[in-house]
């Protein structure tokens, strides 16, 4: 079994500051971490490999420093890693990002399963996983909370929904996106971390994956972020509800109904 885990490096906190002049997000000085949701994807890849054999490869598109997140994946058991990094990839929206990742997966070849996190904590769209599946025209299962069975030709997963869950079986190759309930990601050990520092991580450019340059970066992105601003300020005043408990309950209930909360 050949498994690819897609991981994204994100700012350590989502407490983004906006430059009042340029109206852009200030990324300098922000510490970068492996997207927390992707640690579950990595762990699932490693566990499946341990059970069924084969290889698990971490794949990330991002700036050169995203290498650190790939090393983190290696330190918890991923076999090897590939970084997609080039100026031409910059500015990719989810359409273009998933195109690039799909091309890289084709290039890796003979991949049975792609695992993504549920979403990235910065872009927050949850669109890249299904996007990869669509570009590859593979089957997909999102919000996966358990892999129940896997064979060389099919996978059976438990998918989370607002109203419960379902069990879905599909043939491989396929893409799954995973939620937190799926496993408990291990924390890198000192030994693993020291060893990961010694690994070579190849960097792939658009040519390496035969990418159509009209489909990557800003050019390849149908969406445009035209404005970034801080959220509107919170309310200016607090509405105080006082009185007997019954009065309080009833006033609050009215407020809840007014806002269709109940």
């Amino acid at each position: 079994m050949k498994i690819v885990v897609c991981i994204k490096q994100v700012p350590a906190t989502n407490d983004a500051k906006i430059d009042p002049e340029t109206k852009r997000i200030i990324r300098e000085g922000m510490k970068a971490i492996l997207n927390p949701f992707d640690t579950y994807a990595v762990e699932e890849g490693v566990q499946l490999r341990d059970k069924f054999g084969g290889e698990v490869i971490a794949l990330s598109m991002g700036p050169p420093k995203a290498e650190a997140s790939l090393r983190e994946a290696i330190s918890v058991g991923v076999d090897r890693a590939i970084l997609l990094s080039d100026r031409a990839f910059g500015g990719s929206d989810t359409w273009a990002t998933s195109y690039v990742l799909a091309k890289a997966i084709e290039k890796i070849g003979d991949v049975d399963l792609v695992i993504c996190g549920k979403q990235a904590i910065d872009g927050d769209t949850a669109q890249v996983g299904p996007g990869i599946a669509a570009h590859l025209d593979w089957l997909q299962a999102t919000y996966v909370m358990a892999v129940e069975e896997i064979s060389s030709s099919s996978i059976r997963v438990k998918r989370m929904h607002e109203d419960g869950y379902d069990i879905c079986e599909m043939s491989l190759p396929a893409v799954i996106t995973v939620v937190k309930d799926i496993n408990i990601p291990r924390v890198p050990s000192l030994k693993g971390r020291l060893a990961s520092n010694k690994c070579e991580i190849p960097v792939w450019k658009p040519d390496d994956i035969n990418a159509d340059t009209s489909k990557i970066g800003l050019n390849g992105s149908p969406t445009r972020v035209v404005k970034i601003q801080p959220p509107p300020p919170r309310h200016t005043s607090t509405k105080k509800i006082e009185g007997s408990s019954i009065e309080c309950a009833q006033t609050l209930l009215r407020e809840l109904k007014l806002r269709s909360i109940v």
């Binding site: 983004a16 989810t94 927050d124 989370m160 929904h161 937190k180 969406t223 445009r224 959220p231 609050l252």
Partner: protein
């Protein structure tokens, strides 16, 4: 990607909503989106179409017209055992090519967020996630989509002028549901499923419906949170009951409650727990120390219940209820009809 010409753009008309159907019922988010689509369509002097994929739903389409739809496209799928992403994607792609909508809006639910990204890639369209605001240029039909990113710390405005249709997802309860007008009528267009081969390779083996709070904090729309003021595990039973009555609510907690062993750590909100950004956050017996506030202060509506009116939480709350929560909460639970 090659941008559309003006002439190509003009071929695309009408605002579409993808209906959210669960167990043969149209979900409230569909009506919310239909209302939002109505506003956009009126500005463009065009129509609202709702795509309904599901089984045994034909009799229920009237309600869509009442909420503002002009057309319902019904794709009846009697054999369907559940949500098959690939089948629904193929149907959507076919309908988009056939009818050319200008805008497609879908609920940002687990199903919507699985379906629409796939559709957008297959149809070469831009897709904006979790929009909280939608406005349209009445002249050229460009959609301005506002959405939070970085966990709500940033609002981004996004535009996809070069391509049609323009696609967006919107979370449930973000748009206000309009007042229904039962007299309003509309047309129904029936489309075939045209079964594809994907069913052969993807099967929904089983569907489990659970009313028990299936919500984890990150996915909830409403969080009801308890602190040291809940006094013990019994207090959290009360909150769970409250959460169950308010559909779609999860239970959160302060660290004081978690560290006392009253509720699992997975429920902790704050600096060393989870950061949440829900529509509604109801804090019960939580004083609101900074480590807690950083985890929830970007929620849209904050309600606090505390007997002490002067706590930091009561200061930042939109609604501050002063009183004993052990009297107020049971009273509210009594008054909310059990669903």
């Amino acid at each position: 990607m090659i941008a559309f010409t003006d002439a190509e753009r003009k071929k695309y008309r009408n605002i579409w909503v993808v209906a959210e159907i669960l167990f043969g019922e149209i979900q409230p988010v569909t009506y919310e989106l239909t209302g939002a689509a109505r506003t956009l369509a009126d500005l463009r002097k065009s129509e609202v179409w709702v795509v309904v994929m599901g089984s045994d739903i034909e009799g229920k389409l009237e309600s869509l017209f009442a909420y503002g739809a002009d057309v319902a496209i019904l794709v009846d799928n009697p054999g369907s055992s559940g949500f098959v992403d690939e089948t629904e994607t193929k149907i959507m792609k076919r309908l988009i090519i056939k009818y050319k909508p200008e805008v497609v809006i879908c609920g940002a639910t687990t199903r919507g967020r699985a379906l629409i990204p796939r559709v957008s890639v297959m149809t070469h369209c831009g897709l904006t996630a979790d929009c909280t605001g939608l406005s349209i240029d009445p002249e050229n039909g460009d959609l301005l989509q506002t959405r939070p990113a970085f966990g709500g710390n940033v609002m981004a405005t996004i535009r996809c002028s070069n391509h049609r249709p323009q696609m967006a997802t919107v979370r449930p309860r973000v748009m206000k549901s309009p007042e229904p007008d039962p007299g309003r009528a509309g047309r129904i267009i029936k489309e075939d499923m045209l079964t594809s081969d994907s069913e052969k390779i993807k099967q929904i083996i089983d569907v489990f419906h659970s009313t028990e709070t299936a919500y984890n904090l990150a996915d909830a729309q409403i969080i009801i949170s308890g602190g040291r003021g809940m006094k013990g595990p019994e207090g959290f039973k009360l909150l769970k009951q409250f959460a169950q009555r308010v559909g779609g609510a999860a239970v959160g907690a302060s660290r004081a409650a978690v560290d006392s062993g009253w509720i699992p750590y997975a429920h902790q909100v704050g600096q060393t727990g989870q950061t949440v950004q829900t529509k509604v956050y109801i804090a019960c017996g939580i004083s609101g120390q900074i480590q807690h506030l950083v985890g929830m202060q970007s929620c849209d509506l904050i309600i606090a219940i505390d007997k002490n009116p002067d706590t930091p939480m009561m200061q930042i709350a939109d609604i501050a209820v002063v009183g004993d929560l052990f009297e107020i909460i049971p009273e509210i639970i009594r008054e909310i009809p059990n669903l």
